[in-house]
């Protein structure tokens, strides 16, 4: 879940009222966001630098309190203070949901963006809009930058799907072109730099930039780089890496040109809509956005942003029937209004009524009537919904429960099979202690440390392990058990442990190519080998065996009904030392 940091006092002034922390937490809880942390700018810096409390001075009363608010991952409209404040004001019925409009300008006087065909091979889409006569102050300007950052981190998937560029329109001259050119032919002064770079040299330069280096891979290996020019060949941006310095926005910027380049058009529209709807509140003509025409080389042309509302017809019975409360249509529409959804109801006949929901461009999360139903439930209050008993729920008497367990055990496909179950009982009676170890292990632990050859055809191998501890799925329970005695060297002897658990093995006959097997392992570690102790647990037929992890001549296979079901023996001293166990004790498996 994304977290948004907002100044408490600014938030309260936007909400038009002050809350105690408890009251605010309560409001968040009802609406479905969460006050994750209360901190200050200095505390955040201290934490980043791992400094102690004393270094920053704790008693600064004038320090601004920052609320860190966790918002749902699909609510991009809540990724900044303005969006959160508006949603909560509407929820509290202190404000109406705004209606967002496009400035009514004729098509031929609209700003134009021409898309060149080469862009289709690297980043095929672009959407644009203009915010006219905007007034920033320091707080709203920072919020504007932060929102772009949050969008890049979340829906834009670290700029791979969408990248946002914002520009001071008064420094530029339309029409614009979106092109894809050889890096060697692109030259410009990037943001925060003084000198001009050639694009391929710029990529090299940013390899040492902590913030930007993680985006380079998106275009690095492409023969052409996406680039946006104005009519005077001024570079606006080299998406998704950096904007040009020429058109950088400042606190004094009056007209903002916004372009979003993308590999996913749906998400580009969501991102553009989120930015323009939120910040059109600071425009002279509030909630009005100036459109831009995007023209592709094949002649197709589109007007962005698309601020149309989406109509969804939802039967009232679906809403009330799924929540489990009975509500009048008027009540439902007023609940929906509190969630920023305009709604009307239309009576179909005596018993049926539809709710017509108008979904604004800010609510891209509403995909299906179930999302509308959820918003009704949230506005109604989850904790006010009467609980109901399941229709098919009958409590079971205890003896019936025992029958059920027995049945399950006999089926043998779930839990422990009967014989396994009896073994566990026997092990407990012989005072063995159950352990629970990790399923993930290193390749070494699966094979080399057990003196086994890696046959490359049994173990499930992880492609992206974070460390050698998570390279593979165990093929036996032995590494985990040996690691336990390695870490419990000081535990009084004898150590008697067992584990019941699954291993996974490659298996061509399964749809996914691997299968689980349930294993049981018992391990005795004492001053004598204890071979006979493990033997006494094995009331089965044994045959001599030659597994490399056991001492030669001191091991056996367990054969049941003609089938090889297991092994036991004295663990090879070499294997013991491989697992860091060097004292002269023997271990039976």
């Amino acid at each position: 879940m994304p977290t948004v940091s907002v100044g408490r006092d600014r938030l309260f002034s936007a909400l038009g009222k002050s809350y105690s922390q408890e009251e605010f937490e309560d409001l968040c809880f009802k609406f479905g966001i969460e006050l994750d942390d209360v901190t200050t700018e200095k505390a955040i810096i201290r934490k980043e630098r791992h400094l102690d409390e004393e270094d920053g001075g704790v008693g600064d009363d004038d320090e601004e309190i920052i609320y860190k608010i966790e918002v749902p991952a699909n609510r991009y409209d809540l990724l900044c203070l303005e969006g959160i404040a508006q949603a909560l004001r509407v929820f509290n019925e202190e404000q109406q949901t705004p209606t967002y409009t496009l400035a009514g300008i004729p098509k031929d006087s609209m700003l134009k963006m021409h898309v060149k065909p080469q862009t289709s091979s690297i980043r095929p889409f672009v959407v644009c809009a203009v915010l006219r006569d905007i007034t920033f102050d320091e707080a709203s300007y920072n919020s504007f930058i932060d929102l772009q950052d949050k969008l890049h981190q979340n829906i834009c998937r670290r700029r791979t799907l969408v990248a946002i560029g914002t520009h001071d329109l008064d420094t530029l001259q339309g029409p614009f072109t979106y092109e894809a050119l050889s890096p060697k032919s692109i030259n410009f002064v990037p943001l925060k730099q003084e000198k001009s770079f050639r694009a391929d040299e710029l990529m090299e330069f940013y390899k040492s930039d902590m913030k930007l280096k993680k985006f380079l891979h998106i275009i690095e290996n492409s023969p052409v780089f996406p680039v946006i020019y104005d009519s005077k060949r001024t570079v606006l941006s080299l998406p998704p890496i950096i904007n040009g310095a020429h058109s950088a926005i400042t606190l004094k910027t009056k007209n903002v040109f916004i372009e979003c380049t993308a590999t996913d058009l749906t998400k580009a529209n969501i991102v553009l809509n989120t930015v323009v709807t939120t910040f059109s509140a600071y425009c002279q003509r509030k909630f009005e956005v100036e459109p831009v025409e995007v023209i592709y080389s094949d002649g197709r042309s589109f007007i962005y942003p698309d601020l149309s509302v989406y109509n969804m017809e939802v039967p009232l019975s679906y809403i009330t029937g799924t929540i489990g409360v009975s509500l009048e249509a008027e009540k439902v529409t007023s609940l929906l209004n509190r969630m920023q959804l305009r709604a009307e109801h239309s009576v179909l006949d005596d018993n049926n009524c539809n709710i017509n929901v108008l979904i604004p461009p800010t609510r891209s999360d509403i995909l299906h009537p179930c999302d509308v139903m959820e918003d009704v439930a949230i506005a109604y209050g989850y904790n006010g919904i009467p609980k109901r008993r399941l229709p098919s729920m009958k409590p079971l008497p205890l003896n019936q429960l025992e029958d059920l367990i027995r049945e399950e055990v006999q089926k043998g496909d779930l839990s422990l099979s009967l014989s396994l179950f009896l073994y566990v009982l026997a092990l407990l009676a012989f005072s063995y202690c159950e352990v629970l170890t990790w399923i993930l292990c290193s390749n070494q632990e699966n094979f080399a440390l057990l003196n086994r050859e890696d046959d490359q055809s049994s173990a499930v191998i992880i492609g992206n392990p974070r460390s050698s501890d998570f390279e593979a799925v165990r093929t036996s329970l032995m590494p985990g058990a040996l690691k336990i005695i390695g870490h419990n060297k000081d535990h009084p002897k004898p150590i008697k442990i067992f584990e019941v658990g699954d291993v996974a093995l490659l298996d061509e006959s399964k749809d996914v190519g691997a299968t689980n097997r349930r294993h049981l392992a018992a391990l005795y570690c004492g001053t004598n080998s204890g071979f006979e102790l493990i033997h006494s647990l094995m009331d089965r037929i044994m045959e001599r065996s030659d597994a490399p992890e056991f001492l030669p001549g001191r091991q056996a296979s367990i054969i049941y009904k003609g089938k090889h079901i297991g092994d036991f023996g004295i663990v090879h001293p070499q294997v013991l030392s491989n697992f860091g166990y060097t004292v002269t004790t023997n271990v039976s498996w």
């Binding site: 479905g32 699909n74 299906h368 399941l390 409590p395 005072s431 352990v435 990790w438 190519g513 299968t515």
Partner: protein
Amino acid sequence: MMAEEAILGYLENHDEISDSGQFATDSGLDHNDVVNVIKSLHGFRYIDAQDIKKETLVLTEEGKKYAEKGSPEVQLFLAVPQEGSISKEELQKLLDPAVYKIGCSQAAKNKWVQMGNQISRKVQHVEDRVKDLLLQIQDGQELGKDDNNSLKARKLTALQTWKGYSVKRGPEYAPRRRRTATDLTREHLQGGDWRNIEFKEYNFSAKGPPPESGHLHPLNKVKERIKNIFRLMNFEEMPTNRYVESSFWNFDALFQPQQHPARDSHDTFFLKAPATTKQLPEDYVEMVKRVHESGGYGSRGYGYEWKREEANKNLLRTHTTAISSRMLYALAQHAKQQSFTPKKYFSIDRVFRNEAVDRTHLAEFHQIEGLVCDRGLTLGHLIGVLQDFFSRLGMDKLKFKPAYNPYTEPSMEIFSYHEGLKKWVEIGNSGMFRPEMLRPMGFSEDVNVIAWGLSLERPTMILYGINNIRDLFGHKVDLGLIKKNPLCLIGIK
């Protein structure tokens, strides 16, 4: 035995032994033996013993040497010839180096000898007062304060604390100790001794030896209790023995879009072997693709290009909901051919996340999951079943917070009031599966699924007061912890 008889015997005729040290010397006994017997007799209240402490002056090793051989200054003086002089080097050869060094400075200070390259006597006769004083101390005589200080300054004497007892008759005094038996033996019975035997009292405040027994792992104990709760609620266990899963069943079937952050390699273990899934139900895959791309069943869909290669990628399941999606698909297929049967399923098994390991996070943990599939289920039913389930776990006070999850709508986070922490803590997640997940499987519109999930580790750590998950689970556990933890009383009221 000698010492015991001597002490008890002496007290028969005397009121007190005022000094155990003196008593030992007088009786010709070793003081250590006397002390041990006093302690034992005191314990059985035959006698009352009071500590006495004495500080005595004793000779250091150096002091003992001089008491025997004379002080270094006198040894040096005697080495200098009566007439004439001796060279420094010659004199050095005659004496021990330490004796020479100390002797020189002391003899010079006493003005006994003339120092220089040639050394000669200044007086003809000296007395070894230091040796005399040391011998007096060895005899136990008291010295004057100045003498004491000068010896102490030269580190020839030191104070030693001596410990002993003064002893009187105790409440249980008897001139002879009674024999007590610790147990009734065959010999006692055969010999008839049992009639006269006094038994040693049991010490009820001592701990008995630990009973030898096997131990189940705490996580498995809690798991068994929760399984029983589900069974009591008439839920069937799902077969979760499948760690390797395809992205399709783990994500796509759950309407989790292919660009969702959970599908990043930062969060999920993808596999090198077996890398991909070869077999998926093609008709169903087609429906899933369509619902992601363009929706249907009243949905707008996500509006992106769905890729089969992404769905084929194998992974270690990130949640047991992958099993739930397979089970529900099978149920819907069954319903299409025959008739719909409502189901209540549960599972508790291992899931995997490619996360950094710390005190509260591991790369693998256990997920508890419950779901109900039936016609006409409501959010009210979900709240009802959660109240039922969690109150059996001992959590009666619940409240619910709106949340987001790609495959449930509505989604509710479950909070429980923790009496110990005096605050609301999040204990799990729940919701109703989205129609975009259920309809492509083949369920009709009126079938709903309510579901909830939580981790097994969190309640277990709270229950057993364990702060670091690695102490509980994995190979770095302390076996002592597994053996010590108490019974799991969850669900037993």
